[in-house]
């Protein structure tokens, strides 16, 4: 057990300084403002600079293959969060790249992976369908054999960053008659293929995601990943990564759960609320003098610290749930000015808590809903069995 500050050796200190100066140069106020306005969580110029600097490759590769050491990986992670680097989809690209590696043909692997490391290739997810919900295996997007290729028809929801990506990691149905886990085939489809349409959607937290439509999209068989009707195997390894299955090291240099970054944003909002509550207003009064403010703030802090302490899949739920539970109290404490968004005149905490309240919703939905994770805890940790659903009406 150890929660101490890490003493950096001279080399690692130099790395930290280098990272800070790099981010200071490239992640400007303009970049951050643009990111807020577009909700894209992606900035091509920053992304390419990170790639050119070698950080993308170092982040993706294991230490044994030239990747970051655990302490540098953690420095990079913390500093890019501190600098508010538009980053979220880089994690998606990395996750897909890792999944693709064992399943792709050598030609595709070569083309895709080198581009991922330089930043020129980005990848997006094509799992969920407009009518599918959380069960990704209920897939209606069809891929049909056509000579040495395939014809794809269908649509996908939450293909976030598709408009900045070169490939979509696409789940298709290749055998509608088969049981659902034996009917799936995965492809890595180039997004410039004719027949693909990307339509933007904004979510309540201001993020941009997409719905993508596939109309008679013809792809070569070389873009197939894994076996025909063996897509479930490919998908499983991707879902494990997306659900935040983390191999822990012994040094305490890793984040404790998937979505920890969101937990830290929540903690910052709580810290800021505490600072505001302690400050005197124009009439010399402090919010903290109100005992109900003091109580609600203290209870909120306790719950946030508990969520930040919660590990692995448990933490995945705790963080999103606590954001939803605590942010309304924080907004109440800050009063009417907490209804103002970032950038608005005299917005409380410059809209920080207001943003947490809105962000808490998608955080509990994307990458698997909170119910999906509660099911997993119930089944795999507590041994309660698979959830029972009533059979469909005949």
């Amino acid at each position: 057990m150890d929660f101490s500050r890490v003493d950096l050796c001279a080399d690692d200190q130099a790395f930290l300084d280098e990272v800070r100066s790099f981010l200071g140069t490239h992640v400007t106020d303009d970049v951050r403002r643009r990111d807020r306005e577009t909700g894209e969580n992606f900035d091509e110029s920053v992304h390419l600079a990170v790639g050119a600097k070698g950080y993308l490759a170092a982040d993706l590769k294991p230490e044994s293959d030239g990747g970051f050491s655990p302490v540098r990986r953690r420095i990079w992670e913390l500093e890019r969060c501190r600098a508010r680097v538009p980053w979220f989809h880089t994690g998606t690209t990395a996750m897909i790249a890792r999944t693709v590696e064992p399943f792709a043909s050598p030609e595709i692997k070569e083309a895709v992976l080198s581009g991922v490391l330089s930043g020129h290739v980005r990848l997006c997810l094509g799992f969920t369908e407009p009518e599918g919900g959380s069960d990704v295996a209920t897939c209606k997007t069809r891929a049909v054999r056509d000579g040495d290729g395939w014809i794809i028809n269908g649509s996908k929801m939450f293909t976030s960053n598709a408009h900045n990506s070169q490939y979509v990691f696409l789940l298709t149905n290749t055998d509608p008659g088969a049981p659902k886990h034996k009917s799936l085939t995965m492809f890595l489809v180039p997004l410039d293929t004719p027949g693909i349409e990307v339509q933007g959607i904004r979510t309540v937290d201001g993020d941009r995601t997409n719905i993508t439509y596939y109309s008679d999209v013809r792809v070569d068989d070389k873009y197939r990943l894994g076996e025909v009707n063996g897509g479930w195997t490919v998908l499983r390894s991707a879902l494990n990564a997306e659900h935040g299955v983390v191999d822990r090291d012994a040094e305490g240099l890793q984040k404790i759960a998937a979505m920890s970054e969101h937990g830290v944003l929540m903690a910052e909002a709580v810290d800021n609320t505490a600072a505001i509550a302690a400050a005197e207003d124009a009439n010399g009064r402090r919010l903290l003098e109100d005992q109900s403010v003091k109580y609600r703030l203290g209870r909120g802090i306790a719950r946030v610290e508990a969520a930040l302490s919660t590990p692995e899949i448990f933490g995945r739920v705790a963080i999103a749930q606590t954001m939803r539970d605590v942010s309304p109290d924080l907004m109440d404490i800050l009063g009417a000015a907490s209804s103002l968004p970032v950038g608005a005149e005299r917005a409380a905490d410059d809209g920080g808590v207001e943003y947490i309240f809105r962000m808490a919703l998608p955080v509990g939905v994307y990458g698997g809903t909170l119910e999906v994770f509660r099911n997993m805890i119930a089944e795999h940790v507590l041994g309660l069995g698979r959830p029972n659903y009533s059979p469909p009406k005949r």
Partner: protein
């Protein structure tokens, strides 16, 4: 606070930790069945169990070596507390350990003094008033009917009270050996310390009490959750085990989440009190506020899952249920701790604002 500072997040237990944990888990498993717990309900105290626990060194470990103790860390103590909660052991270990450590801190546990050894090894029991904002005067002390020494705060002074005849126990939902104590009626009243240093020492004892109570509640919730989960796996409705219904499984999953979060938070709080006490002084109270709320919620749901059988006063579930409420409540309104948390963090964050 700089939330992006490079700090380790290593919650792992050492081999010494896991050995300690296993020894106490085994001890309570063999020595403290639910029948033992029930049998002690009239007094709130199992003297035989207490003596065997003390013989294991459970009180000695908690005190500094300078007082003849073994100098265990608070992290060690959270591991023992968790097992006490898991087994609902009717022993005043948390209160005794916090009070004896307070005596040591105040220089009132002089190893040359005959009475000191008895306090270290648990032959004499120490108790304290665990309320954050005790108003003074007559007060409810959780160990009042069994403690040989009762330590209370009286204004600016810390005093030790003894009673020739032990005060009567009052029935209480936590099944504790609780009694009303009137300091004015004590047979002896010794001032141990006074002033700011003394009060800081007492505050530390209150932090330790809340920390260890939080850890006990973690064990309590985990056990009542496990009992409820086992019940749900074997109970059928319309041909399926009720454990496969999300109305049952999701509340159980929420308990598992609370256990994981509360446990890690208590250990992190303990680590900071052990190693960097001025760094995160709000965490012990945070663990307490979180677990006080979650324990009652979880223990209620654990009874509910077992339905008509659960609500029977013979069911283990109800034994967990009443203590989940009564143990933290013995420390007074958890809201008082919540307000302390707010004060600590608000002071820290306004200092940070001024710096930036």
């Amino acid at each position: 606070m700089d939330r992006y500072e490079l700090q380790r997040l290593d919650y792992s237990l050492s081999e010494a930790h896991t050995d300690l944990q296993a020894a106490y888990r085994q001890f309570f498993k063999t020595s403290c069945s639910i029948d033992t717990v029930r049998a002690a309900e009239a007094s709130g105290f199992d003297k035989n169990l207490w003596e065997r626990l003390c013989a294991m060194g459970a009180t000695t470990m908690a005190l500094p070596e300078s007082c003849g103790g073994d100098g265990a860390t608070l992290v060690d103590l959270t591991l023992v507390a968790e097992e006490i909660g898991r087994s609902l052991a009717p022993v005043p270990w948390i209160d005794h350990v916090c009070a004896a450590r307070l005596l040591a801190r105040l220089g009132a546990l002089d190893i040359a003094n005959d009475g000191a050894a008895d306090l270290v090894n648990g032959a004499q029991i120490a108790g304290l008033d665990p309320q954050v904002d005790s108003a003074g005067g007559v007060r409810l002390i959780p160990t009042g009917s069994v403690a040989d020494h009762v330590i209370v705060r009286d204004g600016e002074t810390i005093v030790r009270l003894t009673f020739g005849t032990r005060p009567f126990r009052v029935d209480n939902i936590g099944r504790l050996p609780m009694a009303w104590i009137d300091p004015a009626k004590a047979d002896s009243r010794a001032i141990l310390a006074e002033g700011a240093g003394a009060l800081a020492g007492y505050r530390r004892a209150l932090d330790e009490w809340r920390l260890l109570t939080a850890a006990a509640l973690v064990g309590l919730v985990e056990e009542t959750m496990t009992i409820a989960a086992e019940f749900a796996k074997t109970r059928y409705t319309l041909g399926v085990p009720i454990s496969t219904l999300q109305g049952i499984s999701h509340p159980l999953a929420n308990m598992a989440i609370a256990v994981q979060g509360g446990r890690n938070l208590a250990r992190r709080a303990a680590w900071f009190l052990d190693n960097e006490p001025d760094e995160r002084p709000e965490l012990a109270a945070s663990a307490f506020v979180f677990m006080a709320e979650e324990a009652a919620k979880a223990a209620t749901m654990a009874v509910h899952i077992q339905g008509g059988l659960g609500v029977s006063s013979e069911a283990a579930a109800t034994a967990y249920f009443v203590r989940a409420r009564g143990w933290p409540l013995a420390g007074g309104d958890p809201g008082a701790s919540a307000k302390q948390i707010a004060e600590i963090v608000a002071a820290r964050e306004s200092r940070a604002e001024r710096r930036s």
